[in-house]
């Protein structure tokens, strides 16, 4: 569970220019268009210790993004990887690879050093050359960081592969579900449990500024909101409130937690300063006000309220001022989450007996529905604001984690094989 430190070496590997064909427009991958053909890319096994595993993790990441099509290694012609020399571009053109990622792993003084290069095959040019150093057991994070570097270089968007997901792992029968707080890498690797399943846990969230999560627990004796530090293991309750406390989220600077308090059947949104531990109430309508989510600059909060008679999405100042409804389609809107880039608000919508994950602009315009099923709910944003993870449950089944990109084109189950709900994506790890 503890995050191991990773050192990013700043060395950039540069190749001397080679006389080549006339310069061609650089390859580019467009994340915003829903109709792109994934870019054929070759990621042969890196030479050295763990080299094949690292290449495999990179390939899987790129393929899962829906923007790349890693080619079958059995088709590769050039076999000797030596990143000290230019690749035999002809061999790669022959199998229609437009991009090539090759690399080598060396062990120096008990540390893993991974060098890699990203090549534009048809332009016969190196696009990127970097080096990472880490402890040997951290090789997966190196693969994720390389994936992010390749993704960013080719799409112009920041990557999202060196991240983790905190969620609720579910087991047991539908009438008596066992819920355990859990955390894993975004590709489903390294899952571990954070609670023991003896009480209900719900709706965890990451802090964007520290290795801290917040979540809600529910026992017959009452509810509580916890802060849990992943590095130190320290766990503390947010404090005692009269009534049910739920729906906790951090502010973007990590200094505050917004949450709901229910009293006498009425639920309102509060915000607490983590330094002073004083709270202020942001909503006072006799309606359900819950599921707050801060804008990335911390100045506004989007939330769920049924003050109009049915659950809808509202935006207000972070001080509770001027709440304004932004959802106007037919149906019920809940679980609003502001994207980390500020561009979109994702939500769950119920209409016609179906559940949908959708996005809209922060002013409510441009609503687009991305998914539809018996029960899709609770989207969370990848830190680059391009991909959402959510929970999907079939009628009579158990929930599983799925992801969809913001165009709606790339929809797939997450690699984690177990049952899970309430996912929350971490920021890019340091």
């Amino acid at each position: 569970m503890r995050l191991k430190p990773l050192m990013l070496a700043i060395a950039c590997l540069v190749m001397t220019a080679v006389a080549a064909q006339p310069a061609r427009a650089e390859i580019e991958v467009n994340v915003n268009r829903g109709d792109v053909q994934p870019l054929p890319i070759a990621v042969p096994a890196f030479s050295g210790q763990q080299g094949a595993d690292i290449a495999q993790v990179i390939s899987a990441n790129l393929e899962r993004s829906g923007l790349f099509r890693p080619l079958d290694p059995a088709s590769f012609i050039e076999r000797d990887i030596n990143i000290g020399v230019q690749p035999r571009f002809g061999d790669w053109k022959q199998i229609n690879a437009q991009a090539l990622v090759n690399g080598q792993v060396t062990v120096e003084g008990g540390r893993l050093r991974v060098d890699f290069r990203l090549w534009d095959v048809y332009a016969e040019q190196q696009l990127l050359g970097l080096q990472f150093t880490s402890s040997p057991e951290n090789w997966r994070r190196v693969a994720h960081k390389i994936s992010d570097a390749v993704y960013e270089r080719l799409t112009g968007e920041k990557g999202y592969f060196d991240t983790r997901v905190v969620f609720v792992a579910e087991s047991g029968s539908r009438a008596k579900r066992i819920k355990r707080l859990a955390i894993m890498d975004q590709d489903g690797a390294n899952p571990s449990y954070l609670t023991d399943g003896s009480y209900i846990v719900m709706t965890p969230r990451f802090s964007s500024s520290s290795q801290e999560i917040t979540y809600m627990s529910l026992r017959p004796e009452g509810s509580a909101i916890y802060l849990f530090n992943l590095e130190t293991g320290r766990r503390e309750s947010l404090g005692n409130f009269q009534g049910m406390v739920f729906a906790p989220r951090f502010s973007p600077d990590g200094g505050k937690v917004a949450f709901s308090v229910e009293r006498g059947g009425n639920s309102d949104i509060y915000v607490m300063s983590l330094s002073s531990r004083s709270s202020s109430r942001l909503t006072s309508d006799p309606s359900i006000d819950t599921s707050p989510s801060f804008s990335p600059d911390g100045s506004r909060i989007v939330f769920n309220s049924d003050r109009s008679g049915s659950p809808q999405i509202y935006v207000m100042g972070a001080d509770g001022s001027a709440p304004r409804r932004i959802s106007y389609g037919s149906g019920r809107y809940t679980t609003p989450v502001w994207s980390p880039t500020g561009e979109f608000i994702a939500f769950t919508k119920q209409e016609g007996g179906q559940f949908h994950i959708g996005v809209m602009r922060p002013d409510g315009s441009d609503e687009r529905i991305l998914t539809s099923s018996y029960l899709d709910e609770g989207p969370t944003w990848a830190p680059n604001g391009r991909v959402l993870m959510f929970s999907r449950e079939t009628a009579g089944g158990a929930p599983r984690l799925w992801s969809v990109d913001v165009t709606g084109r790339v929809l797939q189950p997450m690699p984690y094989p177990g049952s899970g709900s309430d996912p929350a994506w971490s920021p890019l790890l340091n």
Partner: protein, 186 residues
């Protein structure tokens, strides 16, 4: 083979011997008059088909008045709600009236009202909806004369369905509030 004569065999021999001696002795005395044989005892009536004994009634004994069982069985611990609603329905009123009467009869009992929702909603909103339902029941009971310090509320949202099915009937069962006895019952 030498047989040892055991004690009981010797005793029997002695009794027989004694009987023989007494008979011999009786021979020299006047024969006693035979007495009228005592009347034969009435033979037991011939076995007749007797009535099957009444069956032992199985099953629970009536709940102790004032017990949790009494409350659950004789009063009813759950009331049900319409979709998206927390209004106390007409069919819930008699049950809640009976609950309040029972609670007033047993003033040491404390209860926790648990509000529940069906799965056709999202997690946090349904938690809030369950809380509304729990509070609607609480308000009803308080208005009916149960003091509020005896009642706590909690919501389980959609986390604890009593029916795991996916039919409308199952969803209806899961839209409920349960009055759970937490202390003070017999």
């Amino acid at each position: 083979m030498v047989r040892s004569v055991n004690t009981s065999a010797a005793l029997r021999l002695a009794l027989v011997g004694a009987a023989a001696l007494s008979l011999a002795a009786c021979a020299s005395r006047p024969k006693p008059q035979p007495e009228a044989a005592p009347p034969a005892t009435t033979p037991p009536p011939a076995a007749q088909p007797s009535e099957t004994p009444p069956p032992v009634s199985g099953g629970p004994i009536a709940p102790v008045p004032g017990s949790t069982q009494d409350f659950v069985i004789n009063v009813g611990e759950r009331v049900y709600f319409d979709l998206d609603s927390h209004d106390v329905r007409d069919d819930a009123r008699p049950i809640l009236d009976a609950q309040s009467a029972w609670l007033r009869r047993y003033p040491s009992v404390r209860v926790r009202i648990e509000g529940n929702a069906d799965e056709r909603g999202t997690r946090e909103y349904n938690l809030a909806l369950g809380a509304r339902r729990a509070n609607a029941v609480r308000d009803y009971l308080v208005n009916a004369g149960v003091t509020s310090d005896r009642i706590s509320t909690i919501s389980f949202g959609k986390e604890q369905p009593i029916d795991p099915g996916t039919s409308e009937e199952a969803y209806q069962k899961n839209r409920n509030a349960r009055t759970a006895i937490v202390s003070g019952a017999r």
